[in-house]
């Protein structure tokens, strides 16, 4: 199973396995990783699964996958940066094995 590493705002990293086809928000929530809230469960309505895709991965992951994600990113609580994504919208593919995402200090 592909691995994702979540790095919190103080630099602590946790690596977990996330099933192919599942999303990066679930990987955090189901494994008890604080820092990703994902309160709406992936419905593009809460903006609480904000992450910064590591710069080495930005190209592979790509930008927002829909206009709705782009609009909702405007509502995130922490600073918006070039690698900002709502990670419920990042679906695991073989190409993302080893993905690193950084988590903001707060989600709301």
């Amino acid at each position: 199973m592909p691995k994702v590493t979540y790095v919190d705002h103080e630099g602590r990293a946790s690596a977990v396995e996330v099933e192919l086809g599942d999303n990066v928000m679930h990987g955090a929530v189901y494994n008890g990783i604080d820092g990703i809230t994902g309160e709406c469960g992936g419905g593009l309505s809460c903006a609480t699964c904000h992450c910064y895709v590591d710069e080495d991965w930005v190209e592979t992951v790509g930008g927002p996958s829909s206009q709705a994600e782009e609009e909702l990113l405007e509502a995130v609580a922490a600073e918006l940066r070039p690698g900002s994504r709502l990670c419920c919208q990042i679906e695991m593919t073989p190409a993302l094995d080893g993905l690193v995402v950084h988590m903001p200090e707060h989600q709301f």
Binding site: G42, G43, L44
Partner: protein
């Protein structure tokens, strides 16, 4: 305070009802009898009533009502804050359905605050995730078309369509029963029980309904325990989070809560939307003309036609906007009013499918966000697509006077349609 869901005890929280039971710390100038959910002005046009709260009432006021006295909060910002701080605004004891004190149980997961809450959500979230509910798409389309077939047959035979009974009610209830693994033959009985519990506004009738629901669900759980299937009742009955099976109290409280949450809300949402569609032919046509925008259309309709509230109990003294609230006070976030907050949604009563996406409160926010939200979105979307494909033009029956149901889920009593 963490609670033990396997050994539930009734909360010892004071219930205040009426003008002579206003706690001393509530300033007299914040006391209102707003009439929310029960007054004639509310029942005549509930969404207009809730939008008007923004200019008629302060953003936080103390409402005195036959259903119980509590703080009402109407600002979008305050709801986001309160609902995202379960340590301050607790769900324990905040659910208003009566239970037998000698056989008490918690509604799971809504009455369980973090950290235990996630354990329960993880059991069912995959079923109700955006991807999980997509498996139901064909089934929902088929059920929608079956219902429209029946309506057309009835119309051809000279009958008329009453939307709430012919479509709004049977669609979500049938889908829910399928997901849960419960028999379709129980559909109308389930609806009747839910009506008594949610709309009677009478604690005695609510208690009787709860007793009937309890008996039925306990039998259903026993059956699923003996003979597992792929429905959600069975999934919960056989769940073993961290290797530990759920207790009987937990299983019952979980299934019972899904019953209450799942039956009535989509029903009311569809009824509200179809009433609006019947009266707004131009925007109905806009929906037909913009098939690629269906998701944002659904989101805007859910903002405009939210149907329920979030209740909490203060777990500590807390001050907001200069208002001092005390531990034990009950609080209701008026979610539809929050969706009409003009500071967040300018010109809030206008349905505008091109509104920039913002956090809507139709499904609340925070850890207790509605787990059925994705299912609800999918049902509304498919219902719109299938109905408008077959019945693009329709009107309210001339002379119809719309009446709303009192209670915690807001929707019109009947929506007779002609075309």
């Amino acid at each position: 305070m963490p609670i033990d869901a396997a050994h539930p005890v009734p909360p010892n929280l004071p219930r205040h009802v009426g003008m002579d039971q206003i706690p001393d710390h509530v300033p007299a100038d914040l006391v209102r009898q707003s009439g929310l959910t029960v007054g004639p002005e509310f029942l005549a046009a509930p969404h207009d009533f809730m939008a008007a709260l923004h200019h008629k009432q302060p953003p936080i006021y103390y409402d005195v009502s036959p259903m119980g006295n509590m703080w009402h909060l109407t600002k979008h910002e305050d709801a986001l804050f309160g609902l995202r701080h379960p340590d301050i605004f607790s769900n324990e004891g905040a659910t208003p359905f009566p239970r037998d004190p000698n056989d008490y149980f918690y509604f799971i997961p809504i009455e369980i605050d973090p950290p235990h809450h996630r354990k329960y959500r993880n059991i069912v979230d995959p079923v109700f995730s955006p991807k999980g509910v997509l498996k139901l798409e064909e089934l929902i389309r088929r059920r929608s078309n079956d219902l429209i077939d029946a309506i057309e047959a009835k119309a051809a035979a000279g009958g008329t369509c009453e939307f709430t009974e012919d479509f709004g009610r049977p669609l979500p209830v049938s889908v829910f029963l399928d997901i849960m693994g419960l028999p379709q033959a129980m559909r109308d009985t389930f609806v009747a029980w839910a009506m008594e519990l949610l709309h009677s506004n009478d604690r005695a009738i609510m208690g009787q309904a709860m007793a009937k629901i309890t008996t039925y669900l306990k039998d259903a759980i026993a059956e699923k325990k003996a003979a597992p299937d792929d429905g959600v009742v069975s999934l919960i009955a056989h769940a073993e989070p961290d290797g530990v099976p759920l207790s009987d109290k937990e299983i019952f409280g979980f299934v019972c809560f899904l019953f209450i949450g799942g039956l009535d809300t989509v029903f009311a949402t569809l009824n509200n939307i179809w009433l609006w569609l019947a009266q707004n032919p131009e925007q109905r046509q806009e929906i037909i003309d913009r098939p690629e925008d269906i998701d944002r259309i659904v989101e805007e309709l859910l903002r405009r036609w939210s149907v329920t509230f979030s209740g909490r109990v203060l777990d500590q003294d807390f001050e907001m906007r200069g208002v001092q609230m005390k531990k034990g006070d009950r609080v209701t976030f008026i979610l539809p009013a929050c969706n009409f907050d003009p500071e967040v949604f300018p010109d809030p009563m206008t349905v505008d499918f091109d509104r920039p996406r913002k956090t809507i409160l139709a499904f609340t926010v925070g850890v207790h966000s509605c787990m059925g939200g994705h299912l609800a979105r999918l049902e509304v979307k498919i219902a719109l697509q299938e109905w408008l494909k077959r019945v693009p033009n329709f009107d309210l029956q001339p002379g119809t006077r719309i009446e709303y149901r009192p209670g915690g889920v807001i929707g019109p009593e009947a929506v007779p349609l002609v075309w």
